[in-house]
Assembly symmetry: C2
């Protein structure tokens, strides 16, 4: 492990959690979202790694993931240096991040990134990371505040507080709002999306975790102390780690600490949280081919009197007629058709959970 | 050929024309609509033949079809006696029907039926056929007037005229109306759908054709005179038949003759002219499995917050989310999704006509 970390470097910590079932049938437990080429020719994981390349001044990444993801990670690192911390169980983001922090020097600046988000503007991302690192070195725990592009109801929001030299204090964390509230947030200019991207020094994070969730901090410490190295993989002690009551880093630390800060980031970000979000990202990048009526194709497709339709197919041709705001997805022996408005429900379908279908 | 026809028998003439491309991708030029099991376990053609079974008092059927359909016809007759008149070219219904008439005794009562329609109530069909036969023996050319079940804009209408002993005169033939007009037709009770089913004596039909389209009548007569028998198949002379200017029986004869009549037929009829019509027929018969929200499945399907959705698949599971009035069809390597309102447009898709698709 990188025990002589150059404190000028930023240490990427890439989280591979979540099942991505709302992108079923393309994404599934067997084929998780980070490791699929959903936008462009590379996977979301490969893109997350490329954004924190050594050439841009980042340290080798630490990847926190379940054992079931290690083969995909190793394959998609393409031989680049990295470390994997293999979670014995999924316990949400706070324990995952604390594991990485416990493996780094106290003064190491961590940049915590999900592995399954999309960022269109890498330069803006890296600039925000540098600003966040400066705040982190002043003892702040920093959230990326994503400039909202529309009144999204699926994200949490951050309200900007007093200005700091390299960013802002966070006046308030806001849960997912209803549409009317989201509209006022976007109109005000004071709110950002909480993108789940964080920067802090390892020691600061562990200290604040110990203050607000002392039991979790102890359990992580013990799991790391009793863990074992296996080449580039580190295995925390399963018994101790599994005993942790999981929680998100927002709930466990960020919303409780007095040291929270944010950096604004206007970088074409999306969590690609459902098919409508993927459609938007494809259209914005024209990674699919988008026609004058806003219809986007991945694979062969024909649109007749359609508006704002996504056709995403791994083989069969898709022909769409007289539809508006619909996503059509063909993958293997599954065909899924959803209205954009209902795209959030896809993760609950019988096909995802292997429930019995309605059959003739 | 049945030259000693029992004039008490009704002679079914089953027309196999049309490509059925509005039911693409299931139906296509290679797999035409009449020969597919779209409703129930048997094909529309098999059902058309079963409705005019010998056991119900019908003569052996005459089938008028192109050469490309003969293999399917022979297979789907399952050894039952029949004759095929092989059209050298497609020239619409008037020449096809005239061919059959020219092969029958003058006093033979013909019952002309498309091979690709659906009739839910066979007993009602047969009762209407008997009434129509009585009118035919009085020298009438009889259309089946289908009791309209909704204000359909895709069909022509017949306005009922003066009562006859076994039916009605036809006061007027009406082209496909707009929706408002169709509503007034249905509300009035005076209008029926023109179902494309006809009954007349062979001699009456040929006499009226000679009166209103003398050239066509001569050409058919010559094509039959110069034709050749080949077992159960009769081949009209190709050169003479191909020279005919094609026309429908409605335009060529029914709308011009003074002898037109109609019999009312309330028999659960549909021309299955597009996916919305097939959906309605499946739902009415519950041949697919229909849930409380009006969603119908052929093949494995799941519906989540959907209303009035058809999922018709030859293999892959279909999952539909948040859709209303949509037909989803999966066949081979084609996936077609249409709103019910636009179902008529399916026959013009690039996939049907083998145009190039919009491809990423």
């Amino acid at each position: 492990m990188n025990s002589q970390a150059d404190s000028a470097l930023i240490h990427p910590v890439i989280l591979c959690g979540g099942s991505g079932t709302r992108l079923w049938p393309v994404s599934s437990r067997a084929h998780p979202k980070p490791f699929l080429p959903l936008i462009g020719e590379t996977t979301l994981f490969e893109q997350a790694v490329a954004r924190v390349a050594a050439s841009a001044g980042f340290a080798d990444p630490i990847i926190v993931a379940g054992a079931q993801h290690c083969d995909a990670i190793i394959a998609q690192m393409h031989g680049a240096a990295h470390q994997i911390i293999v979670e014995p169980a999924a316990r949400n983001t706070a324990p995952a991040i604390a594991l990485a922090a416990a493996r780094l020097p106290e003064d190491a600046v961590m940049l915590v990134c999900p592995s399954d988000h999309h960022v269109a503007d890498t330069a803006a991302f890296q600039a925000a990371a540098l600003a966040a690192a400066n705040l982190a070195r002043e003892g702040r725990l920093v959230s990326f505040g994503i400039t909202p592009e529309h009144p999204e109801t699926g994200y949490g929001y951050l309200r900007r507080g007093a200005a700091l030299k390299h960013g802002y204090e966070i006046a308030k964390f806001v849960e997912k709002p209803d549409l009317e509230t989201a509209k006022t947030y976007v109109a005000s200019g004071d709110y950002s999306w909480n993108g789940g991207i964080f920067t802090f020094q390892a020691g600061t994070l562990l200290k604040e975790l110990a203050r607000h969730r002392p039991e979790m901090a102890e359990q992580v410490k013990a799991a790391v102390a009793k863990g074992r190295n296996d080449g580039a993989q580190f295995h925390p002690d399963p018994e101790r780690f599994s005993a942790i009551a999981g929680d998100s880093i927002d709930y466990a630390v960020m919303e409780k600490t007095d040291c929270a800060a944010m950096v604004p980031a206007d970088m074409g970000w999306s969590d690609i949280g459902n098919w409508a979000a993927l459609q938007d990202a494809l259209r914005a990048g024209d990674e699919g081919k988008t026609d004058d009526d806003g219809n986007t194709a991945r694979g062969e497709a024909d649109f007749d009197q359609c508006r704002n339709v996504l056709a995403f197919s791994d083989g069969p041709r898709v022909s769409a007629v007289g539809l508006e705001d619909v996503c059509i997805v063909v993958s293997g022996d599954e065909v899924m058709v959803t209205s954009r408005d209902h795209a959030q429900r896809v993760g609950k379908l019988p096909g995802v959970t292997n429930l019995r279908s309605f059959t003739k």
